[in-house]
Amino acid sequence: MSAPAVTRRPGGTDDAVGGVVPREVVRPGTVEEVADVLRAAAADGRTVVPVGGRSKLTWAAPPESCDLLLDVTGLDRIVEHVAGDLTVVAEAGVRLGDLQAQLGEAGQLLGLDPPEDGATLGGLVSANASGPRRLRYGTTRDLLIGITVVLADGTLARAGGKVVKNVAGYDLGKLYTGAHGTLGVVVSTTWRLHPVPPARRVVTLDLPDVAAAGPLSIALARSTLTPSAVELSGTAGGPGRLVVLFESIAESVTDQARSAVALLGGGEESDDLPEDFGRRPGGADDVLLRLAHAPAALAAVLAALPAGTPVSAHAATGVAYAAVPAAEAAGALPRLRAAIAEHDGTAVVLRAPDAVRDALDHWGPVGDSLELMRRVKERFDPERRMSPGRFVGGL
């Protein structure tokens, strides 16, 4: 546990958010201190960008300005884990890995598995990060049952609660999920948990053409099998590998894996996941895109990517990732967006190398609700001081 005291230091290049170097880095130790910091920032009109584990600092568009980098990793308390209720309250700076370790002792888990190392709860809420098991557990919007935030003016506000079933008031947790710090700072989160499944079985199938995953994932989704994940990796227009993960009691996973092999027309069974399971495609020199689309359109979406693009997909969910070489990204992006639009497909830039970052339209078209989003932003942050410019439409 960290000492509850605000630490401050000048910002450096290591602290840069999308290339923007903050003037100052502040690390409060308590929720109240976060409120104090924001009240002070409001008083002198400073812009604020909240950060957690910095695993996704390069995600989203760069901020227009960053006077203050608000580091919430000091809020690192797991406040309350009630195993009998399958709920946990944890502060925003708690790292997902630490939380899972503690929950695991009680045979429970939080059903989020984004691959970024060191991610904090606040960060993964704000970036709406997800991983392969979203097929089974859903994403932040399905698991977050309560939230505490500090608004731009320092107001401390809470929504939801500690019970899974609760419809009292608006669900602000949804609004803060994926908002990239533009509506305020997430300081505490409450989650619904799941029991750790006792057994695992994995079916791995190599595909000569990655697009074959499309019909296979439809077949899996329409079957009575209940995989935790159907994870695809490979290159567009080239070969791929489909990993189907079953997690349940031993009898069930054995039985299901066998059925899956029959359904897929092949595949290797094993107890272990491949080491790179769920990893985002490409490397630091690529522009990493997150593609979302109607789930059955996976093959069409893969076909719309430039041949040779490294890809991965949480198949059967409608989410895929593509690593486009930096030099080609600016040109490829509009074409890709147009091509997948008919499948309600969108492509957002998660991560881009410094050299091309400013030339990209990170979010792409938002649709007819952008004006409404702008009105929401104006209500929560009328002075545009919270992560300005990081979000859609320059919000």
Binding site: T155, A159, A296
Partner: protein, 495 residues
């Protein structure tokens, strides 16, 4: 608390009625007093307000025209689906428009590969599963009123149901919505894809109880019908044993599709209504349902049986077929209205507690009821701690209605102090808005109302619901000054 307001046929609404007739057709605009009075309450019949105008919309355009005309005239509107809500969420505004969505009921076609279907809001919940069934798909949220409640109403209330323990609520099953904002603009939130760039306004909209706009089309996620479903009915001689069984099941790492509990009074009512054949002499019954792959269900079912035995279950019955399963559920699903058979009147309450607090909360509730000499029947989603105490009373006994209302309120506060919520699925509506302050601070409520102000700055969409104090949209967060036009117009009050 009963309010009967006469319809003030003010000049404003008379002119609006005329404009509405011109815009959407005379036959869709009701102002005849005897007709509009049939709309003065929803499923919560002790709250009544007669609307000035009832609009029977048949298309998105009718909704757009109605909302726009209301906006221009500064007249509030309340959208209503099947009128089965239990918190007065569709209580009309006197001098306002009640926008009836029941006729917008086109459904489908089912997109089996994407496991989706797009429906109009007047479509009845159960119809979705009926249409999806040939594809081995189903719509998961199944509120007890599913054979009559509308999808639009489900979205407004973020309806749950017995199976949300495993499958989640309406918000987890709605992918996209076409929404008419309170100024008549049409926006599309979400869609057929699981994610969209921008704020999750769909997530905020679902469960906003009609205060942010009116949905005219919804894209729903369908789930694959599981390979196996097994349902068992377990009888107990004590509520504690039943509650203990639930805890033990969860502790064993089993996530049932549903765990429902009924106490002796509720069992008596259900028997009287639908002859569901629950175990005789039971003080509590559990309806436990497991679903999933056959081998998994079978193994876990054996485990659950063993747990129930250890917790002194005196009778365990396993549904042999769909008909028996249907009967087990019928008793549970008809329980609310069935209580009408054992008591002249009753309040249906809806509160949530952390599951682990079940035994102590039930004991305390019993003590509170005894103190007032009232009976409380309990029907609840035990798996997720969602209680539905039914406070029985007799109108004919002087003062009993008041006592019962007080007890119902006290039970909610008990839920909040136990770490729970004032509503798990019925919504806040008109009934519980004053209770919101027990669960949330003024800052919490003001922050929620920032959303309201973004969607509906004039406060004309279902005013007087959810919040004890309407947000004054001209203000900055945290500060309140002066009288807002909403107050001045009598659309809201400050408490």
């Amino acid at each position: 608390m009963t309010a009967v307001a006469e319809p003030a046929v003010s000049d404003r609404t008379a002119a609006l009625a005329e404009a509405l007739r011109t815009a959407i057709g005379t036959e869709r605009v009701l102002t005849d007093r005897t007709q509009v009075r049939t709309y003065e309450c929803d499923g919560l019949a002790n709250f009544k307000v007669t609307p000035a105008i009832v609009v029977l919309a048949e298309s998105r355009q009718h909704v757009v025209d109605t909302v726009r005309l209301c906006s221009e005239a500064g007249v509030p509107f309340v959208a209503r689906g099947s009128g089965t809500g239990l918190s007065g969420g569709a209580l009309p505004s006197a001098d306002g428009v009640l926008l009836v969505m029941s006729r917008l009921r086109s459904l489908g076609p089912v997109d089996a590969d994407n496991r989706q279907v797009t429906v109009e809001p007047g479509v009845i919940n159960l119809w979705v599963t009926r249409d999806a069934a040939p594809f081995d798909l189903a719509y998961a949220p199944d509120p007890s009123s599913q054979l009559v409640c509308s999808i639009g109403g489900n979205v407004a209330e973020n309806a749950g149901g017995a199976h949300c323990l495993k499958y989640g609520f309406t918000v987890n099953h709605v992918l996209g919505a076409e929404v008419v904002l309170p100024d008549g603009e049409v926006v599309h939130l979400g869609g057929r894809a699981p994610e969209h760039p921008g704020y999750d306004l769909l997530g905020a909209f679902i469960g906003s109880e009609g205060t942010l706009g009116v949905a005219t089309e919804l894209t729903l996620r369908l789930i694959r019908v599981p390979e196996a479903v097994q349902t068992m009915l377990v009888g107990y001689h004590s509520v504690e044993d039943a509650a203990g069984t639930v805890s033990d099941i969860i502790a064993a790492g089993i996530l049932p599709a549903a765990v429902e509990m009924m106490d002796a009074l509720a069992i008596e009512a259900a028997e009287a209504a639908v002859s569901c054949g629950y175990p005789e002499g039971a003080v509590a019954v559990l309806v436990i349902e497991l679903d999933g792959p056959q081998v998994e269900v079978e193994a876990q079912f054996r485990q659950v049986e063993e747990i129930a035995r250890r917790r002194n279950a005196f009778e365990t019955r396993i549904a042999a077929d769909d008909a028996e399963r249907g009967l087990m559920w019928k008793g549970r699903k008809s329980a609310f209205a069935a209580v009408g058979r054992i008591s002249p009147s009753y309040f249906v309450q809806d509160g949530v507690i952390p599951r682990t607090k079940l035994p102590e909360v039930l004991a305390e509730m019993k003590r509170m009821a005894d103190e007032k000499g009232l009976r409380v029947a309990n029907v609840f989603h035990a798996g997720d701690g969602n209680l539905h105490p039914l406070v029985l009373f007799d109108d004919a006994v002087e003062g009993q209605a008041h006592e019962a209302e007080e007890l119902a309120g006290d039970i909610l506060e008990l839920c909040v102090t136990s770490g729970g919520s004032i509503t798990g699925e019925h919504g806040v509506g008109s009934e519980k808005r004053m209770k919101m302050a027990k669960q949330f601070t003024p800052a919490d409520l003001d922050t929620m109302q920032l959303v309201r102000c973004a969607f509906d700055p004039d406060g004309i969409a279902n005013p007087g619901k959810v919040f004890p104090t309407p947000r004054l949209c001209g203000e900055r967060p945290g500060v309140r000054k002066g009288e807002h036009p909403v107050q001045a117009a009598g659309l809201g009050e400050v408490f």
